[in-house]
Protein backbone atom coordinates (compact mmCIF):
# COMPACT_ATOMS: atom_id res chain seq x y z
CA UNK A 1 0.00 0.00 0.00
CA UNK A 2 1.05 3.66 -0.03
CA UNK A 3 4.07 4.78 1.89
CA UNK A 4 4.05 7.19 4.85
CA UNK A 5 0.49 6.63 5.98
CA UNK A 6 -0.16 8.32 9.32
CA UNK A 7 -0.65 6.16 12.41
CA UNK A 8 -3.65 8.18 13.46
CA UNK A 9 -6.42 9.80 11.49
CA UNK A 10 -8.23 9.29 8.21
CA UNK A 11 -6.79 9.03 4.72
CA UNK A 12 -8.90 8.43 1.64
CA UNK A 13 -6.92 6.96 -1.25
CA UNK A 14 -8.97 7.64 -4.34
CA UNK A 15 -9.07 8.75 -7.94
CA UNK A 16 -10.96 11.97 -8.73
CA UNK A 17 -13.29 10.56 -11.41
CA UNK A 18 -14.05 7.38 -9.47
CA UNK A 19 -17.69 7.28 -8.42
CA UNK A 20 -16.71 4.87 -5.66
CA UNK A 21 -14.17 7.33 -4.29
CA UNK A 22 -16.76 10.09 -4.54
CA UNK A 23 -18.98 8.07 -2.20
CA UNK A 24 -16.18 8.15 0.36
CA UNK A 25 -15.70 11.91 0.05
CA UNK A 26 -19.43 12.60 0.46
CA UNK A 27 -19.61 10.37 3.53
CA UNK A 28 -16.59 11.94 5.23
CA UNK A 29 -17.85 15.46 4.45
CA UNK A 30 -21.39 14.65 5.65
CA UNK A 31 -19.99 13.52 9.00
CA UNK A 32 -17.81 16.62 9.21
CA UNK A 33 -14.69 14.51 9.67
CA UNK A 34 -11.12 15.62 9.21
CA UNK A 35 -9.36 13.56 6.61
CA UNK A 36 -6.57 13.64 4.09
CA UNK A 37 -7.46 13.00 0.47
CA UNK A 38 -4.75 11.37 -1.60
CA UNK A 39 -5.03 11.14 -5.35
CA UNK A 40 -3.93 7.78 -6.65
CA UNK A 41 -4.08 6.33 -10.11
CA UNK A 42 -6.29 3.41 -9.20
CA UNK A 43 -5.79 1.96 -12.67
CA UNK A 44 -7.21 -1.50 -12.74
CA UNK A 45 -7.56 -1.66 -8.96
CA UNK A 46 -11.18 -1.44 -8.08
CA UNK A 47 -12.17 1.29 -5.77
CA UNK A 48 -10.93 3.58 -3.06
CA UNK A 49 -9.31 2.64 0.23
CA UNK A 50 -10.09 4.37 3.48
CA UNK A 51 -7.27 4.17 5.98
CA UNK A 52 -8.26 4.83 9.58
CA UNK A 53 -5.55 4.85 12.21
CA UNK A 54 -3.33 2.89 9.85
CA UNK A 55 -5.92 0.19 9.05
CA UNK A 56 -7.35 -0.12 5.53
CA UNK A 57 -11.00 -0.56 4.61
CA UNK A 58 -11.88 -1.43 1.01
CA UNK A 59 -15.06 -1.46 -1.08
CA UNK A 60 -17.03 1.78 -1.17
CA UNK A 61 -20.30 0.52 0.36
CA UNK A 62 -18.33 -1.19 3.13
CA UNK A 63 -16.47 2.09 3.66
CA UNK A 64 -19.83 3.94 3.89
CA UNK A 65 -21.11 1.55 6.54
CA UNK A 66 -17.82 1.73 8.44
CA UNK A 67 -17.96 5.53 8.55
CA UNK A 68 -21.63 5.43 9.56
CA UNK A 69 -21.05 2.91 12.34
CA UNK A 70 -17.86 4.46 13.69
CA UNK A 71 -19.32 7.99 13.77
CA UNK A 72 -23.01 7.43 14.45
CA UNK A 73 -25.58 10.20 14.65
CA UNK A 74 -24.27 11.97 17.72
CA UNK A 75 -23.35 15.69 17.78
CA UNK A 76 -25.69 16.38 14.90
CA UNK A 77 -23.85 14.11 12.45
CA UNK A 78 -26.41 12.36 10.26
CA UNK A 79 -26.89 8.63 10.07
CA UNK A 80 -26.76 7.24 6.56
CA UNK A 81 -28.68 4.08 7.34
CA UNK A 82 -32.05 4.36 9.11
CA UNK A 83 -32.60 2.82 12.54
CA UNK A 84 -35.33 0.37 11.56
CA UNK A 85 -33.99 -3.04 10.43
CA UNK A 86 -36.46 -3.39 7.56
CA UNK A 87 -35.71 0.11 6.26
CA UNK A 88 -31.99 -0.72 6.54
CA UNK A 89 -32.47 -3.89 4.53
CA UNK A 90 -34.23 -1.90 1.81
CA UNK A 91 -31.45 0.69 1.73
CA UNK A 92 -28.80 -2.04 1.45
CA UNK A 93 -30.83 -3.75 -1.26
CA UNK A 94 -31.01 -0.65 -3.46
CA UNK A 95 -27.36 0.27 -2.91
CA UNK A 96 -26.41 -3.27 -3.93
CA UNK A 97 -28.76 -2.96 -6.94
CA UNK A 98 -26.93 0.21 -8.00
CA UNK A 99 -23.59 -1.61 -7.82
CA UNK A 100 -24.92 -4.59 -9.77
CA UNK A 101 -26.94 -2.78 -12.42
CA UNK A 102 -25.63 0.75 -12.93
CA UNK A 103 -21.85 0.37 -12.72
CA UNK A 104 -21.13 -2.03 -15.57
CA UNK A 105 -24.01 -0.91 -17.77
CA UNK A 106 -22.82 2.69 -17.45
CA UNK A 107 -19.25 1.75 -18.33
CA UNK A 108 -20.43 -0.25 -21.33
CA UNK A 109 -22.17 2.83 -22.69
CA UNK A 110 -18.78 4.28 -23.59
CA UNK A 111 -16.70 1.12 -23.75
CA UNK A 112 -18.80 -0.76 -26.28
CA UNK A 113 -20.63 -0.26 -29.54
CA UNK A 114 -23.38 -1.94 -31.54
CA UNK A 115 -25.36 -4.70 -29.89
CA UNK A 116 -23.37 -4.65 -26.63
CA UNK A 117 -23.96 -0.93 -26.29
CA UNK A 118 -27.66 -1.27 -27.10
CA UNK A 119 -27.99 -3.88 -24.37
CA UNK A 120 -26.11 -1.66 -21.93
CA UNK A 121 -28.37 1.24 -22.82
CA UNK A 122 -31.47 -0.84 -22.12
CA UNK A 123 -30.20 -2.14 -18.79
CA UNK A 124 -28.93 1.27 -17.74
CA UNK A 125 -32.16 3.13 -18.47
CA UNK A 126 -34.43 0.40 -17.09
CA UNK A 127 -32.42 0.28 -13.86
CA UNK A 128 -32.51 4.05 -13.43
CA UNK A 129 -36.25 4.10 -14.14
CA UNK A 130 -36.73 1.49 -11.42
CA UNK A 131 -34.70 3.64 -9.04
CA UNK A 132 -36.71 6.71 -10.00
CA UNK A 133 -39.85 4.75 -9.14
CA UNK A 134 -38.33 3.79 -5.82
CA UNK A 135 -37.58 7.47 -5.10
CA UNK A 136 -41.21 8.34 -5.83
CA UNK A 137 -42.28 11.65 -4.36
CA UNK A 138 -39.71 11.59 -1.57
CA UNK A 139 -37.06 14.32 -1.49
CA UNK A 140 -34.37 11.68 -0.98
CA UNK A 141 -34.14 7.91 -1.22
CA UNK A 142 -33.72 8.04 2.54
CA UNK A 143 -37.05 9.88 2.86
CA UNK A 144 -36.77 13.28 4.47
CA UNK A 145 -33.07 12.79 5.08
CA UNK A 146 -30.16 12.29 2.70
CA UNK A 147 -28.83 8.79 3.26
CA UNK A 148 -27.12 5.60 2.16
CA UNK A 149 -28.84 5.08 -1.20
CA UNK A 150 -28.57 8.77 -2.06
CA UNK A 151 -24.79 8.61 -1.55
CA UNK A 152 -24.60 5.31 -3.45
CA UNK A 153 -26.26 6.82 -6.52
CA UNK A 154 -25.44 10.53 -6.64
CA UNK A 155 -21.76 9.65 -7.06
CA UNK A 156 -22.60 8.78 -10.69
CA UNK A 157 -23.99 12.27 -11.41
CA UNK A 158 -20.76 13.64 -12.91
CA UNK A 159 -20.74 10.72 -15.33
CA UNK A 160 -24.29 11.33 -16.58
CA UNK A 161 -23.11 13.77 -19.26
CA UNK A 162 -20.63 11.13 -20.48
CA UNK A 163 -23.33 8.45 -20.53
CA UNK A 164 -25.73 10.82 -22.32
CA UNK A 165 -23.27 11.58 -25.10
CA UNK A 166 -21.78 8.08 -25.47
CA UNK A 167 -25.09 6.30 -25.33
CA UNK A 168 -27.16 8.92 -27.14
CA UNK A 169 -29.47 9.07 -24.17
CA UNK A 170 -31.58 11.95 -22.99
CA UNK A 171 -31.54 11.43 -19.28
CA UNK A 172 -32.98 14.87 -18.49
CA UNK A 173 -36.09 14.11 -20.52
CA UNK A 174 -36.45 10.44 -19.63
CA UNK A 175 -35.73 10.72 -15.91
CA UNK A 176 -37.04 14.12 -14.78
CA UNK A 177 -37.64 13.17 -11.13
CA UNK A 178 -34.22 11.63 -10.82
CA UNK A 179 -32.53 14.66 -12.36
CA UNK A 180 -34.45 16.90 -9.93
CA UNK A 181 -33.17 14.70 -7.11
CA UNK A 182 -29.59 15.11 -8.40
CA UNK A 183 -29.98 18.91 -8.28
CA UNK A 184 -31.39 18.67 -4.77
CA UNK A 185 -28.39 16.60 -3.67
CA UNK A 186 -25.97 19.00 -5.31
CA UNK A 187 -27.25 21.73 -2.98
CA UNK A 188 -25.52 19.87 -0.18
CA UNK A 189 -21.98 21.03 0.45
CA UNK A 190 -20.69 17.48 0.75
CA UNK A 191 -21.98 16.55 -2.69
CA UNK A 192 -20.97 19.73 -4.52
CA UNK A 193 -17.48 19.34 -3.06
CA UNK A 194 -17.22 15.69 -4.06
CA UNK A 195 -18.60 15.78 -7.59
CA UNK A 196 -16.07 16.62 -10.31
CA UNK A 197 -16.86 18.73 -13.39
CA UNK A 198 -18.83 16.54 -15.84
CA UNK A 199 -16.86 17.96 -18.78
CA UNK A 200 -13.57 16.97 -17.12
CA UNK A 201 -15.02 13.49 -16.61
CA UNK A 202 -15.88 13.30 -20.30
CA UNK A 203 -12.30 14.21 -21.25
CA UNK A 204 -11.04 11.62 -18.77
CA UNK A 205 -13.23 8.99 -20.44
CA UNK A 206 -11.67 9.85 -23.81
CA UNK A 207 -8.21 9.34 -22.30
CA UNK A 208 -9.29 6.00 -20.83
CA UNK A 209 -10.62 4.89 -24.21
CA UNK A 210 -7.23 5.62 -25.78
CA UNK A 211 -5.46 3.82 -22.94
CA UNK A 212 -7.59 0.70 -23.40
CA UNK A 213 -7.35 0.91 -27.17
CA UNK A 214 -11.11 1.27 -27.59
CA UNK A 215 -12.44 2.59 -30.90
Amino acid sequence: MGSDLPEKGLVLLSSWPSMFGIRGVIALEEKGLEYEYREEDLGNKKGPVLVHDGRPICESLIILQYIDETWPGADGAPCFLPADPFARSQARFWADFIDKKITDAGANLWMTKGEAQAEAKKEFMESLKLLEGELGEKPYFGGETFGFVDIALVCFASWFHTYDVSGSLNMEAELPKLMAWVKRCQERESVSKALPDPLKVYDFMLILKKRYGIE
Binding site: H52, I62, Q65, F86, D96, L130
Partner: protein, 232 residues
Protein backbone atom coordinates in the same frame (compact mmCIF):
# COMPACT_ATOMS: atom_id res chain seq x y z
CA UNK B 1 -37.69 -20.59 21.32
CA UNK B 2 -38.67 -17.09 20.22
CA UNK B 3 -42.32 -16.43 19.50
CA UNK B 4 -43.26 -17.07 15.92
CA UNK B 5 -43.77 -13.62 14.48
CA UNK B 6 -44.92 -14.87 11.13
CA UNK B 7 -41.44 -15.61 9.80
CA UNK B 8 -41.18 -17.46 6.53
CA UNK B 9 -38.36 -18.43 4.21
CA UNK B 10 -39.08 -19.01 0.54
CA UNK B 11 -36.34 -21.19 -0.85
CA UNK B 12 -35.02 -24.52 -1.98
CA UNK B 13 -32.97 -27.26 -0.32
CA UNK B 14 -29.97 -27.03 -2.62
CA UNK B 15 -29.35 -23.29 -2.51
CA UNK B 16 -26.41 -22.09 -0.39
CA UNK B 17 -28.04 -18.65 -0.27
CA UNK B 18 -31.22 -20.06 1.23
CA UNK B 19 -29.09 -21.94 3.76
CA UNK B 20 -27.66 -18.67 5.01
CA UNK B 21 -31.08 -17.36 5.97
CA UNK B 22 -32.01 -20.61 7.70
CA UNK B 23 -28.72 -20.89 9.62
CA UNK B 24 -29.12 -17.31 10.85
CA UNK B 25 -32.69 -17.96 12.02
CA UNK B 26 -31.59 -21.20 13.69
CA UNK B 27 -28.79 -19.40 15.54
CA UNK B 28 -31.33 -16.86 16.77
CA UNK B 29 -33.69 -19.70 17.74
CA UNK B 30 -36.47 -18.17 15.66
CA UNK B 31 -39.27 -20.46 14.47
CA UNK B 32 -40.09 -20.07 10.80
CA UNK B 33 -42.09 -21.69 8.05
CA UNK B 34 -40.09 -23.00 5.11
CA UNK B 35 -41.86 -22.63 1.78
CA UNK B 36 -40.34 -24.75 -0.97
CA UNK B 37 -40.12 -22.77 -4.20
CA UNK B 38 -41.35 -24.52 -7.33
CA UNK B 39 -38.54 -23.06 -9.47
CA UNK B 40 -39.65 -24.23 -12.93
CA UNK B 41 -41.81 -22.25 -13.40
CA UNK B 42 -41.16 -19.62 -10.74
CA UNK B 43 -44.05 -19.23 -8.31
CA UNK B 44 -46.38 -16.23 -8.14
CA UNK B 45 -45.13 -15.65 -4.62
CA UNK B 46 -41.51 -15.40 -5.78
CA UNK B 47 -42.32 -13.14 -8.70
CA UNK B 48 -44.37 -10.87 -6.47
CA UNK B 49 -42.01 -10.74 -3.50
CA UNK B 50 -38.77 -10.39 -5.47
CA UNK B 51 -39.77 -8.65 -8.69
CA UNK B 52 -36.29 -7.21 -9.27
CA UNK B 53 -34.26 -10.43 -9.33
CA UNK B 54 -36.90 -13.18 -9.08
CA UNK B 55 -34.50 -15.24 -6.97
CA UNK B 56 -34.56 -17.20 -3.72
CA UNK B 57 -34.22 -16.79 -0.81
CA UNK B 58 -36.89 -14.37 0.24
CA UNK B 59 -37.41 -13.83 3.95
CA UNK B 60 -40.87 -12.75 5.06
CA UNK B 61 -41.26 -11.05 8.42
CA UNK B 62 -44.47 -9.32 9.50
CA UNK B 63 -45.54 -9.50 5.88
CA UNK B 64 -42.44 -7.69 4.58
CA UNK B 65 -40.22 -9.42 2.02
CA UNK B 66 -36.44 -9.12 2.33
CA UNK B 67 -34.18 -10.28 -0.52
CA UNK B 68 -30.46 -11.02 -1.08
CA UNK B 69 -28.99 -13.57 1.32
CA UNK B 70 -26.37 -11.44 3.05
CA UNK B 71 -28.86 -8.58 3.44
CA UNK B 72 -31.27 -11.11 4.96
CA UNK B 73 -28.61 -12.32 7.42
CA UNK B 74 -27.92 -8.73 8.51
CA UNK B 75 -31.66 -8.09 8.87
CA UNK B 76 -32.01 -11.17 11.07
CA UNK B 77 -29.05 -10.05 13.19
CA UNK B 78 -30.47 -6.54 13.64
CA UNK B 79 -34.00 -7.74 14.39
CA UNK B 80 -33.36 -10.49 16.93
CA UNK B 81 -30.67 -8.83 18.99
CA UNK B 82 -30.84 -10.66 22.30
CA UNK B 83 -29.50 -13.99 21.04
CA UNK B 84 -26.23 -14.94 19.31
CA UNK B 85 -24.85 -11.84 17.60
CA UNK B 86 -23.85 -12.65 14.02
CA UNK B 87 -21.96 -9.56 12.82
CA UNK B 88 -18.92 -8.65 14.94
CA UNK B 89 -19.39 -5.83 17.44
CA UNK B 90 -16.45 -3.71 16.33
CA UNK B 91 -16.96 -1.62 13.14
CA UNK B 92 -13.53 -2.53 11.75
CA UNK B 93 -14.11 -6.26 12.27
CA UNK B 94 -17.50 -5.83 10.60
CA UNK B 95 -15.87 -4.16 7.60
CA UNK B 96 -13.40 -7.05 7.29
CA UNK B 97 -16.16 -9.67 7.60
CA UNK B 98 -18.23 -7.86 4.96
CA UNK B 99 -15.20 -7.59 2.69
CA UNK B 100 -14.46 -11.32 2.75
CA UNK B 101 -18.11 -12.26 2.35
CA UNK B 102 -18.26 -10.06 -0.75
CA UNK B 103 -15.00 -11.59 -2.02
CA UNK B 104 -16.44 -15.09 -1.63
CA UNK B 105 -19.65 -14.22 -3.47
CA UNK B 106 -18.30 -11.89 -6.15
CA UNK B 107 -14.87 -13.37 -6.89
CA UNK B 108 -14.13 -16.79 -5.41
CA UNK B 109 -17.32 -18.77 -5.84
CA UNK B 110 -17.91 -17.66 -9.46
CA UNK B 111 -14.38 -18.95 -10.20
CA UNK B 112 -15.01 -22.32 -8.54
CA UNK B 113 -18.22 -22.72 -10.53
CA UNK B 114 -16.32 -22.35 -13.78
CA UNK B 115 -14.69 -25.73 -13.21
CA UNK B 116 -17.72 -27.79 -14.14
CA UNK B 117 -18.28 -25.78 -17.31
CA UNK B 118 -14.63 -25.94 -18.42
CA UNK B 119 -14.07 -27.99 -21.54
CA UNK B 120 -10.31 -28.46 -21.69
CA UNK B 121 -7.62 -29.56 -19.26
CA UNK B 122 -6.00 -26.17 -19.76
CA UNK B 123 -9.17 -24.33 -18.76
CA UNK B 124 -9.57 -26.59 -15.75
CA UNK B 125 -5.96 -25.97 -14.68
CA UNK B 126 -6.51 -22.19 -14.74
CA UNK B 127 -9.67 -22.47 -12.66
CA UNK B 128 -7.97 -24.83 -10.22
CA UNK B 129 -5.05 -22.44 -9.73
CA UNK B 130 -7.38 -19.51 -9.04
CA UNK B 131 -9.52 -21.64 -6.73
CA UNK B 132 -6.52 -22.65 -4.61
CA UNK B 133 -5.18 -19.09 -4.53
CA UNK B 134 -8.56 -18.06 -3.13
CA UNK B 135 -8.61 -20.80 -0.52
CA UNK B 136 -5.14 -19.71 0.59
CA UNK B 137 -6.44 -16.16 1.09
CA UNK B 138 -9.37 -17.51 3.08
CA UNK B 139 -7.07 -19.68 5.21
CA UNK B 140 -5.15 -16.49 6.09
CA UNK B 141 -8.37 -14.54 6.61
CA UNK B 142 -9.51 -17.22 9.03
CA UNK B 143 -6.48 -16.57 11.20
CA UNK B 144 -6.85 -12.79 11.03
CA UNK B 145 -10.61 -12.68 11.64
CA UNK B 146 -10.83 -15.63 14.00
CA UNK B 147 -8.12 -14.28 16.32
CA UNK B 148 -7.33 -17.76 17.58
CA UNK B 149 -10.93 -18.89 17.95
CA UNK B 150 -12.72 -21.76 16.26
CA UNK B 151 -14.66 -19.55 13.89
CA UNK B 152 -14.14 -16.67 11.46
CA UNK B 153 -16.33 -14.92 14.02
CA UNK B 154 -13.87 -15.76 16.82
CA UNK B 155 -15.44 -17.66 19.69
CA UNK B 156 -18.84 -17.97 18.06
CA UNK B 157 -20.07 -18.81 14.59
CA UNK B 158 -20.67 -15.54 12.75
CA UNK B 159 -21.35 -13.73 9.49
CA UNK B 160 -18.32 -14.87 7.56
CA UNK B 161 -18.71 -18.46 8.79
CA UNK B 162 -22.25 -18.43 7.40
CA UNK B 163 -21.13 -16.78 4.15
CA UNK B 164 -18.48 -19.41 3.39
CA UNK B 165 -19.95 -22.40 5.21
CA UNK B 166 -23.12 -22.28 3.15
CA UNK B 167 -21.03 -23.27 0.12
CA UNK B 168 -19.50 -26.37 1.75
CA UNK B 169 -21.89 -28.93 0.29
CA UNK B 170 -21.29 -27.50 -3.19
CA UNK B 171 -17.53 -27.45 -2.58
CA UNK B 172 -17.69 -31.15 -1.67
CA UNK B 173 -19.70 -31.83 -4.83
CA UNK B 174 -17.14 -29.96 -6.92
CA UNK B 175 -14.38 -32.00 -5.26
CA UNK B 176 -16.16 -35.25 -6.14
CA UNK B 177 -16.86 -34.23 -9.72
CA UNK B 178 -13.43 -32.77 -10.42
CA UNK B 179 -11.15 -34.99 -8.35
CA UNK B 180 -9.63 -31.77 -6.93
CA UNK B 181 -9.10 -31.58 -3.21
CA UNK B 182 -10.18 -28.00 -2.61
CA UNK B 183 -10.21 -28.20 1.18
CA UNK B 184 -6.91 -29.98 1.44
CA UNK B 185 -6.11 -30.74 5.09
CA UNK B 186 -2.37 -30.52 4.46
CA UNK B 187 -2.42 -27.22 2.58
CA UNK B 188 -5.29 -25.58 4.48
CA UNK B 189 -5.44 -27.16 7.96
CA UNK B 190 -7.40 -24.40 9.67
CA UNK B 191 -10.13 -24.20 7.04
CA UNK B 192 -10.44 -27.97 6.78
CA UNK B 193 -10.94 -28.31 10.53
CA UNK B 194 -13.34 -25.37 10.50
CA UNK B 195 -15.40 -26.99 7.72
CA UNK B 196 -15.99 -30.14 9.76
CA UNK B 197 -16.83 -28.03 12.79
CA UNK B 198 -19.31 -25.97 10.77
CA UNK B 199 -21.14 -28.97 9.36
CA UNK B 200 -21.51 -30.48 12.84
CA UNK B 201 -23.18 -27.37 14.27
CA UNK B 202 -26.77 -27.76 15.43
CA UNK B 203 -27.89 -24.68 13.52
CA UNK B 204 -26.39 -26.07 10.31
CA UNK B 205 -26.98 -29.83 10.39
CA UNK B 206 -30.65 -29.81 9.45
CA UNK B 207 -30.23 -27.47 6.48
CA UNK B 208 -26.96 -28.66 4.92
CA UNK B 209 -27.79 -30.83 1.90
CA UNK B 210 -26.42 -34.37 1.77
CA UNK B 211 -23.46 -34.50 -0.59
CA UNK B 212 -24.77 -37.48 -2.61
CA UNK B 213 -28.21 -35.97 -3.11
CA UNK B 214 -26.61 -32.69 -4.17
CA UNK B 215 -24.18 -34.51 -6.47
CA UNK B 216 -27.12 -36.07 -8.30
CA UNK B 217 -28.81 -32.70 -8.59
CA UNK B 218 -25.60 -30.99 -9.77
CA UNK B 219 -24.91 -33.60 -12.45
CA UNK B 220 -28.39 -33.14 -13.89
CA UNK B 221 -28.11 -29.34 -13.75
CA UNK B 222 -24.71 -29.28 -15.47
CA UNK B 223 -25.93 -31.64 -18.17
CA UNK B 224 -28.84 -29.26 -18.83
CA UNK B 225 -26.55 -26.23 -18.91
CA UNK B 226 -24.07 -27.88 -21.28
CA UNK B 227 -26.88 -28.96 -23.59
CA UNK B 228 -28.28 -25.43 -23.58
CA UNK B 229 -24.91 -23.80 -24.31
CA UNK B 230 -24.07 -26.18 -27.16
CA UNK B 231 -27.51 -25.64 -28.63
CA UNK B 232 -26.79 -21.88 -28.98
Amino acid sequence: MAESEDVKVLGAWMSPFVMRARIALNLKKVDYEFIAETMHPKSELLLKSNPVYKKIPVLFHKGNPICESLIIVQYIDETWTSVHPILPADPYDRAIARFWAAYIDDTWNPEVRKYSMANTDEERAVVAEKTFAGVQLLEEAFQTCGKGGNWFGGDALGYLDIALGSYLAWIRVTEKMSGLKILDGDKFPQLTAWADRFCAEEAVKGVMPETDKLLEFAAAMIARMKAASSAK
